[in-house]
């Protein structure tokens, strides 16, 4: 079957989709957007979290056919999504960032200095906070956590620790023990409130 929907502000069409395919599979294998991750494919880990019409969901549990005509935001579009939110409607350039070329991503090579603020890639506050707080180790849980944390901060700009834990309780991380993730979200919240 064919599925048409919007990803990160850009219309997308997927063809020859098997009816049992998940949104996650279509994003990763058909649209070249592997940011949403395939850790459990049973809704238990949150690594595939994307926003579907604004709502965080596990993309592994959304049938591809169900997204027809709907809007999806993945981690690849998170920085732009956050930027537009900050700018407010109408004020900013709304061109969505292009999808990542897999060729580019296939072999990464770290250059120069470390992941510092403002270096090359534009990041959302929560993305930058994850880097700064050491919340990224293997990074496999990171995209899902970022989408979930960004959405929580949108709803609740001044979360308590218990609020953060509750909002992120659907995202498993096996490396960090979550302490640095807590720090990252606190940091993002603090920076966000400073910016306002």
């Amino acid at each position: 079957m064919r599925v048409n929907f919007t990803v990160n502000g850009r219309p997308q069409e997927a063809d020859d989709v098997w009816e049992g395919e998940s949104l996650l599979y279509v994003l990763r294998e058909r649209l070249g957007l592997p940011g949403a991750k395939n850790a459990c494919e049973q809704g238990e880990c949150g690594s595939c979290t994307v926003r579907l019409d604004g709502v965080p969901v596990c993309s592994c549990l959304v049938a591809a056919g169900q997204v027809e005509g709907r809007e999806v935001v993945t981690v690849e579009g998170l920085a732009e999504y956050a930027r537009q939110r900050t700018c407010g409607s109408g004020k900013c350039d709304t061109s969505a960032k292009g999808a990542t070329s897999l060729d580019d991503a296939q072999r990464w090579s770290a250059h120069g200095t470390d992941s510092q603020t403002g270096e090359g890639t534009e990041l959302s506050p929560v993305q930058q906070a994850f880097i700064d707080a050491g919340a990224v180790q293997c990074g496999f849980c990171t995209p899902g956590l970022l989408v979930a944390a960004d959405e929580m901060l949108e709803r609740n700009p001044t979360p308590t620790d218990a609020d953060i834990r509750e909002a992120l309780s659907g995202n498993l991380c096996r490396c960090t023990g979550y302490e640095t993730i807590m720090n990252a979200v606190r940091l993002a919240a603090a920076r966000q409130s400073e910016a306002v």
């Binding site: 079957m1 098997w18 009816e19 049992g20 998940s22 494919e41 049973q42 809704g43 238990e44 949150g46 979290t49 709502v55 965080p56 969901v57 596990c58 592994c60 549990l61 959304v62 049938a63 056919g65 169900q66 027809e68 979930a148 509750e166 909002a167 309780s169 659907g170 995202n171």
Partner: protein, 295 residues
């Protein structure tokens, strides 16, 4: 596999009539797991996401008509006053992401004894509105669960809504899992006080082949409360009454040993949850009664 995308409820009923083996998919939180893990290959998937009315609810005089696909998040956020037991149960469902997609219709359709909504529905009192091209009917929740992962739906029927009695007294829900979040119930317990009828209703999850009520426990407690004039005098329920209620709730279980827990633990835990939820609801009832008395 075919993917059916009805744009309206009528189209959905027609599709289900034409393809009775079609598996309805709404939140996808059960169906997609089975597909991803190759446990199930339905001939047809019947997508209900495009039927907007399934996401709506109406608060009526005595009950709430809850669309089958209203996500748990909405229940938690919007229906805490009307459906406190179900709102509490909704809050224990899996994770925020799952609660954003899953709804009571899915729990009922799957009819797993571990579904979190069941004990709350049983305790509150509810009817399931189901429909086919042949017509619509309302199935009392007590008659809905017919076996392990089986329900009273006919092959051509779809769940449209659930009519749940609005709370007129305190309700509680507890669930035991071996993790502090995102966990399937080892067992669960729901309890609702119905002051106008001076009755208590219960619901037990994951401790029998189907969700069940602890009817003997309810009858015992109803009688004990009546006898002691508790509904009127708002006294503390005596420990012996609470204990016997808890024991009868535990006795209502017919659990198994599985990877999530032992049968004897489930029985034990249901008893503890029964006692605690009775205490919480009764304390709350006494508090309310006292306030009303003062006013």
């Amino acid at each position: 596999m075919d993917f059916l995308r009805p744009g309206s409820w009528e189209e959905a009923l027609a599709a289900k009539a034409e393809h009775p083996t079609a598996v309805p998919i709404a939140g996808g939180t059960d169906v997609m797991v089975e597909i991803n893990f190759d446990h199930r290959r339905p001939e047809y998937l019947l997508d209900l996401n495009r039927i907007g009315e399934l996401n709506d609810w109406e608060v009526g005089e005595d009950s709430v008509r809850l669309g089958a696909s209203v996500p748990y998040t909405s229940i938690m956020e919007n229906l805490r006053a009307e459906l406190p037991g179900l709102a509490l149960a909704s809050h224990t469902v899996a994770s925020p992401q799952i609660r954003n997609r899953g709804g009571v219709g899915g729990n009922l359709g799957t009819a797993s004894p571990a579904g979190d909504a069941h004990p709350a529905l049983l305790a509150a009192g509810a009817e399931v509105e189901v429909e086919s091209v042949r017509g619509s009917r309302r199935i009392p929740i007590d008659d809905f669960y017919t076996g392990v992962k089986r329900n009273a739906l006919a092959a051509d029927e779809l769940i449209r809504a659930v009519h749940i009695k609005k709370a007129e007294g305190p309700q509680q829900f507890s669930k035991v899992g071996t993790r502090n979040a995102m966990v399937i119930a080892v067992c669960a317990f729901g309890l609702a006080l119905h002051p106008s009828s001076r009755t208590v209703r219960t619901g037990i999850g994951s401790a029998a082949p189907t969700p069940v009520r602890a009817k003997a426990a309810e009858e015992f407690l109803n009688a004990a409360l009546e006898e002691g004039g508790f509904w009127d005098n708002g006294k503390i329920i005596t420990p012996s009454v609470a204990k016997q209620f808890a024991d009868l709730c535990a006795a209502a279980c017919n659990p198994i040993d599985d990877v999530r827990g032992t049968a004897s633990y489930r029985r034990h835990a249901v008893g503890i949850m029964a006692r605690r939820t009775l205490t919480w609801t009764w304390e709350s009832y006494r508090g309310t009664a006292a306030t009303e008395g003062a006013a």
